[in-house]
Amino acid sequence: MKLAYWMYAGPAHIGTLRIASSFKNVHAIMHAPLGDDYFNVMRSMLSRERNFTPVTTSVVDRNVLARGSQEKVIDNITRKDTEEAPDLIVLTPTCTSSILQEDLQNFVERAQLDAQGDVMLADVNHYRVNELQAADRTLQQIVQYYLAKAQKKGELPGDKTEQPSVNIIGMTTLGFHNNHDATELKRLMAELGIQVNQVMPEGASVKNLKNLTRAWFNLVPYREIGPLTAQYLQSEFDMPYVDITPMGIIDTARCIRAIQKVLNQQGASADYEQYIDNQTQFVSQAAWFSRSIDCQNLTGKRAVVFGDSTHAAAITKILAREMGIKVVLAGSYCKYDTDWFTQEVGEYCDEVLISEDHGAIADKIAQLEPAAIFGTQMERHVGKRLDIPCGVIAAPIHVQNFPVGYRPFLGYEGANQVVDLIYNSFTLGMEDHLLEIFGGHDTKEVITKTVSAESDLSWSKDGLAELNKIPGFVRGKVKRNTEKFARDRGFSEITAEVLYAAKEAVGA
């Protein structure tokens, strides 16, 4: 058992349902007790979805438990098949119902006998994988199912599209800014002269999956959802893929160059260098911002980054490489992806933390006292408590991550948006400090809590008086550094002279 107050990723069935309900005309049957069906609430409330969520719960109650669920599940599948005529019905249990160890595959096969549409059991272990892994797996399973089916029927097209083309894989319902990212990637592909063959699963039809192989390559912008499908398509159909997340100016260029290579290997003669140059230097404002005076003032500021693999790694690199900000800690809650993450951010941060325990991250933040945090909603609240500004860069999803206005994270406009996010995080924090500095000091005699009695050293009155002249937002740091200096030198009392000696010696 684990004492848990907060989770970064949801349970597996949420991942499966995100995939199923992203497709057009696919219905999911959730075999679960009453109350486990809150996915419908999340989709409706968080993403402000206009349509009914195509997920029906086949409710497991005491009676069902006693009688066995086979009949009810099959009834519900065939009923939905009739009522809504979906192309595909996906059956999934939840953590709870998976314990019953029923032969759900058999239920599916029985239901398929009567159903007009396809019926499938989502194949994930509900205790070993989380939402993200399950989504990645379910997407791959559905793609594999339809390609195998087409292959069997001899309906798999053997050719490629005439013009270079791409499948964009990994856009899902309830994905962090996925809808805007999809728009931005489509624009980017259009500017590169690449035809978008399919975007999936969001808005895709399973009927068209057989045409996936017509694309020249697959683009997998996110680390969490899509890679298994791209790997499958590569190993089975020899489709190359590009999995560099086009976030930030540098990695967007890197992604475009990788695309260029993939296209040219197939006989195209793409040359995107001039496009990249023009976008980087003149169209997008991100490179110019990095060079501007506003950004100069961010140089060397300390930040903590925490999120999923994709966003935490990308933001760490943007901060370190593009903006000269010191990332003192980069972390991810995707424990299963530790190696990749560590390798990606290793050279761009002082320390890496991979953990699902929000308390551990909160403690680290409190200890490191960064000037800003880039994290999830949880870190934002940690920041609120500690009075450190935080920009939200990753799921768990929140209604604020479904802005009505255009806010992609990917591509060149994404790079602009990320600049704003970073800059505003620092400056809104800065504003308070400036107000403190410039707001005049009409007798502020209060000693702030950072100057508490918790230390083993005593401060003389003049030392304290000097300490209190230091602006609040660096006072804690000066205090600690001075005490460390005093301890090292064996001073028992910290006077004004000791304070300034420490400043000279260690830059306290």
């Binding site: 989770m7 007790p33 009453l34 409330m45 438990l65 709870t96 989380n130």
Partner: protein, 468 residues
């Protein structure tokens, strides 16, 4: 109001397939941990339960609240780990970090399915770590949404002392409400005031409502000379009311049938079966019923009710003559329907997750009677409704207002149907005379909003409507 036919029609009941949506009963921790200030709630379940608590309540709670998950992992499910040792480890940590007066274990579907013997483990662990442990099975196999509270209160009913404590200091402590009502007054005044009360057997009220409402209802009864000797739950676990055999008990929420039967059967109390004090009509009926049990002639209630109605006429006129459809979510549906009929609405259908006709008998009667008095047909009541059928019906009927769970509100709005979340009535203060305006504020809000938007012609915000 037209009193066409005051002979109540019989209510029609139905029970559907049960493919409906409502919240998990473990939701109750979200309000119970606040109500019982010295408690800690430990929900023993899976990642699915935890993610629900985190997300679905409409707000992510970030501070470490006084509830947490004991998340069952693969080793727990496959019984490779010792449940007792695992729970002990977690409870000791809770004791160390938060030191609550009670730990409430909330059993879930999973503990049911793996047959974890929580009731067996609790007394041993309670003895070992020295903190009371109350076990409630708020699982979705047997209960829906608000019934979670019922399971907790039923479990706590066992823990109420059966006689007044001997020590003066302890007595002081258990004096909760009375003490509050007399707070700051001189001893003599208090003594003098005791004479305001009629001499009647002890009355304990049950149901979790915010403290201000506790005060309001207690003051209401005091006006009739009735003294509330305690509330279940109290503000603190250590202030649980004294419940002795033969005491009277009365519920204030319609979903507390299990607590009611526990109090009757196990604590030998007498249940006052009244309509629930929701809306001025319900509040008046509730007080009248309690008065009648104690042989008291109620004073000024009719005028009181009339005055309240008068004061909310601006809101009532917005819904009078309009129709409402209750999809069914939180078991407040019968009381809400009765109140809305009294406001002049027509109720198409009442969905409800669970219908205890005995515990809700007085409320059902009042509903039938109200419909008759208001000259509207008695609505059909559907237990465990089927959401798919309901939505088809709603699209046909085009009611003026649909009270529904969170999953269906946005899609209905996008199709031009005005909706209100049922869950808001669970969290809002809706009991007593004084909160009438608050319920109506909630009920009328979507109507006021959509009235405002009507002229803009944005009613159909979905393009091609597939079959629902």
């Amino acid at each position: 109001m037209t009193l066409a036919n005051t002979q109540p029609q019989a209510l029609e009941f139905d029970c559907d397939t049960g493919n409906y949506h409502t919240f998990c009963p473990i939701s109750c921790v979200a309000w119970l941990y606040q109500k019982i200030e010295d408690s800690f709630f430990l929900v023993i379940g899976t990642k699915t339960c935890g993610y629900f608590l985190q997300n679905a309540m409409g707000v992510m709670i970030f501070a470490e609240p006084r509830y947490a998950m004991a998340e069952l992992e693969e080793g727990d499910i496959s019984a490779q780990l010792n449940d007792y040792e695992e729970l002990k480890r977690l409870c000791l940590q809770i004791k160390r970090d938060r030191n609550p007066s009670v730990i409430v274990w909330i059993g879930t579907c999973t503990t049911e399915i793996i047959k974890m013997d929580l009731e067996g483990l609790a007394p041993r662990l309670e003895a070992e770590i020295g903190i009371p442990i109350v076990v409630a099975r708020a699982n979705g196999l047997d209960y829906a949404f608000t019934q979670g509270e019922d399971t907790v209160l039923a479990a706590m009913a066992h823990r109420c002392p059966s006689e007044a404590p001997q020590l003066e200091s302890e007595k002081e402590e258990r004096g909760g409400i009375t003490k509050l009502l007399n707070f700051g007054r001189k001893k003599e005044d208090v003594a003098a005031e005791q004479s305001d009360y009629v001499d009647h057997p002890p009355l304990v009220l049950f149901g979790s409502i915010p403290d201000p409402v506790v005060t309001q209802l207690s003051l209401e009864l005091k006006k009739q000379g009735i003294q509330v000797s305690g509330w279940l739950p109290a503000k603190r676990y250590t202030e649980l009311p004294v419940i002795a055999e033969g005491n009277y008990v009365c519920g204030i929420n319609p979903f507390l049938s299990r607590t009611a039967s526990t109090l009757m059967r196990r604590r030998k109390c007498k249940l006052i079966g009244a309509p629930f004090p929701i809306g001025p009509d319900g509040t008046r009926a509730w007080i009248e019923k309690i008065c009648s049990v104690f042989g008291i002639e109620p004073q000024g209630l009719e005028e009181r009710e009339a005055k309240i109605w008068e004061s909310v006429e601006d809101y009532v006129k917005l819904i009078r003559g309009k129709s409402v459809y209750l999809m069914g979510d939180n078991l407040l549906e019968i009381s809400m329907a009765r109140f809305l009929v009294r406001c002049g609405m027509t109720v198409h259908e009442i969905g409800i997750p669970y219908m205890d006709k005995r515990y809700q008998a007085a409320e059902l009667n009042l509903l039938a009677q109200t419909c008759a008095e208001m000259g509207v047909p008695a609505p059909k009541i559907v237990e465990k409704p089927d959401n798919y059928n309901q939505i088809k019906q709603i699209m046909e009927l085009q009611p003026d207002l649909v009270i529904t769970g969170m999953a269906h509100a946005n899609p209905l709005e996008a199709r031009g149907i005005t909706t209100k979340w049922s869950v808001e009535f669970t969290f809002a203060q809706i009991h007593g005379f004084g909160n009438t305006r608050d319920i109506l504020e909630l009920v009328t809000r979507p109507l006021r909003r959509n009235e405002n938007l009507k002229g803009l012609g944005w009613n159909q915000l979905v393009k091609e409507e597939a079959n629902v």
